[in-house]
């Protein structure tokens, strides 16, 4: 790996944290701001090492609030920017996430989840998956991805930037300590096979500065860059298409917030992805995400091989927007849905909401502070189905 250039196509042996920031570099990230926290610090250390060699800038801020705020300013000035934190720091960033949703600011936040509450512990968890969607104040949809491997840490971070730029919104990578500290093979494909998305600017749509509406023109408005003469005013108070905040009315409020909501929730098929295996003729299904899908698939294959249980496997690559329609389109009526999670049953709620008429019952398989073993999941499946 040469220090002064982006990764070349090839095979590497990397830590998840390193693969994450290599993906960011590949996506065009040139500003990183962060605050140290276990188990996310390796991402920022890698960024500190790599960015100044690539013409980018790294800064260690005084806290997580200012770190996330730096991304906002960098994004408005034209850069792709990211930070990484862990659960307690993620709580502090909620203020900026809400602000970035309302100002339609593309940026990427990686949450290397540790279990909580409070300082909790520095092991692994999936306890922020609800905070990712509902932690920020106000009615604001979010995009959140869930990586399960070093390869995912690379690819999902690139995808996070692409989604942020495409939909002009903050995107979360809900990693876990397990995937951030894991070391395994990373395959970088030929660079022309990696799609890179850049935000649409008013110049791209032939819009002159005197006709430019920072929150108008399209469902995803084109975003002007500071310094290019468009006199853009970024504002998070309820606003008209031109950013004007005077003449408040409930109509303006609804139009403003509903458009931001619809651009995500109305485009779930284009945004969200799920992965399926062994669904053909299955009578039960295991639905999981993140590193739990690594032990989850082993349990499913074992149950099929050992006892001939017709159980299928679904992995959510995207947690939010929740891929309800995709799940319903793919899943036939089943008997039992198993949901193993490294929390006490969080995504089990939207899964149940989406599929309550498609199953006899749902079984949550919680694990706090450590990853489920395949045996642990398997034992619960056998117990339920004997």
């Amino acid at each position: 790996m040469s220090n002064n250039e982006i990764l070349k196509p090839g095979v590497y042996y990397l830590q998840g944290a390193q693969a994450c920031f290599e993906g960011a570099i590949m996506a065009g990230c040139r500003v990183y701001a962060g605050y140290p926290i276990t188990p996310a610090t390796e991402i920022m250390e890698h960024a500190a090492h790599r960015l100044p060699r690539l013409g980018g800038r790294f800064i260690q801020m005084e806290d997580e609030i200012s770190s996330a705020s730096v991304l906002v300013g960098a994004s408005w000035a034209g850069a792709k920017a990211m930070t990484a934190t862990s659960s307690p720091g993620f709580s502090l960033m909620q203020e900026v996430i809400s602000f970035a949703i309302m100002t339609e600011t593309p940026l990427v936040i990686v949450d290397v989840q540790r279990p909580g509450p409070g300082q909790g512990y520095i092991t692994t968890g999936q306890e922020d998956v609800m905070q990712a969607r509902w932690g920020h104040h106000g009615e604001g949809s979010i995009i959140a991805l869930s990586p399960a491997s070093v390869q995912d840490m690379f690819e999902f971070t690139i995808e996070a930037f692409n989604l942020a730029e495409r939909w002009r919104t903050p995107v979360l990578v809900m990693a876990e300590e397990t995937v951030a500290h894991m070391r395994e093979r990373l395959i970088v494909p030929p660079l022309d096979t990696i799609p890179i998305v850049n935000r649409t600017k008013p110049q791209d749509m032939g819009i002159a500065s005197e006709h430019y509406l920072p929150y108008g023109h399209a469902q995803v408005p084109p975003m002007a860059t500071w310094g290019e003469g468009y006199n853009i005013n970024h504002v998070s108070l309820v606003h008209h298409e031109d950013g004007n905040v005077t003449r408040y009315s409930p109509t303006v409020h609804v139009e403003n917030v509903a458009r931001i909501h619809r651009k995500i929730e109305g485009n779930v098929d284009a945004i969200a992805r799920i992965e399926t295996r062994e669904l053909e003729g299955c009578r039960h299904v295991l639905i999981c995400y993140g590193s739990v899908s690594r032990t989850g698939i082993e349990a499913v294959l074992e149950a099929r091989a050992e006892r001939g249980i017709p159980i299928g496997f679904i992995r959510l690559h995207t947690l939010w927007p929740f891929p309800e329609k995709q799940l319903r389109d793919l899943l036939p009526d089943v008997d039992v849905i198993f949901v193993p999670e490294m929390n006490l049953g969080m995504m089990a709620h939207p899964i149940m909401e989406a599929l309550r008429d498609r199953c006899r019952r749902m079984v949550s398989i919680p694990s706090l502070g450590s990853l489920h073993s395949p045996e642990m999941i398997l034992a619960r499946i056998y117990e339920e189905l004997q």
Partner: protein, 273 residues
Amino acid sequence: MKKHPMLKYLKEEGPAGPRLPLIMCPGCGAGQVLNYALHAVDTLLQEDALRKEDFVFISGVGCSSRLASHYLNFDSGWTLHGRALSVATGALLANPRLRIVVLTGDGDAAAIGGNHFIHTCRRNMDMTILCMNNGLYGMTGGQVAPTTPIGKTTTTTPYGNVEDEFDLCRLAQTAGATYVARWTTAHPHQVIKSIIKGVRKKGTAFIEILSQCPVHLKTSPVEMFRNMKKITVPLKKSAAGPVEGKIPVGEFCDIKKPDWIERYQNIMDQLSE
């Protein structure tokens, strides 16, 4: 009717309706500070090799921060309460050529944004911070601020303020800002001169402007404005020691020191060799 010469820098009309007059209360000092800032920018555009699009105005939340809430015919951002300096830092990391003017207040900069204020000065980030200090929280109805004098009654200190006040200029200077000055709204020429100096200065320039809030202090704007000169004393006269009951105004420091971007650029240059 002849138009005010600075109106060319404001958005008077927009598709959603007129943006002027400002929402500020009658007699508020924020409008004066905006006028002074635009005069300074006008001079800089004439005298320096700067274009209008090089300037970005960034604010937080509060009365003074409303100045960057869609009135300005410049690139601008009306950001989070206390976080304007961090947003400005991000903009500089992405594009160090931008000339950033932060419009903030005493509550925004010294209370909720206090930590960011200290560290922005310490890093010597290249921006000009205009802090309008009215000694209270105006937008929420006149609560106590870190700059409220001891003993003062406000809506949240109904029996008098028991806390000492912050000296924001001393704080900025100690933390590492390269240009620090304090004036009042009654010092238009000095304020304009300081802003010009601040924008030209490489590094953090902090300019505190004592600004009247006639509404919450229940005093006539004219009386408050006249008082500005009475309650202040030139810094030189207070050099020997504080003058009882008077607030020193003037330039606290004007030094030369590399800013964050320059120091980081040196590393980037070494690494690319």
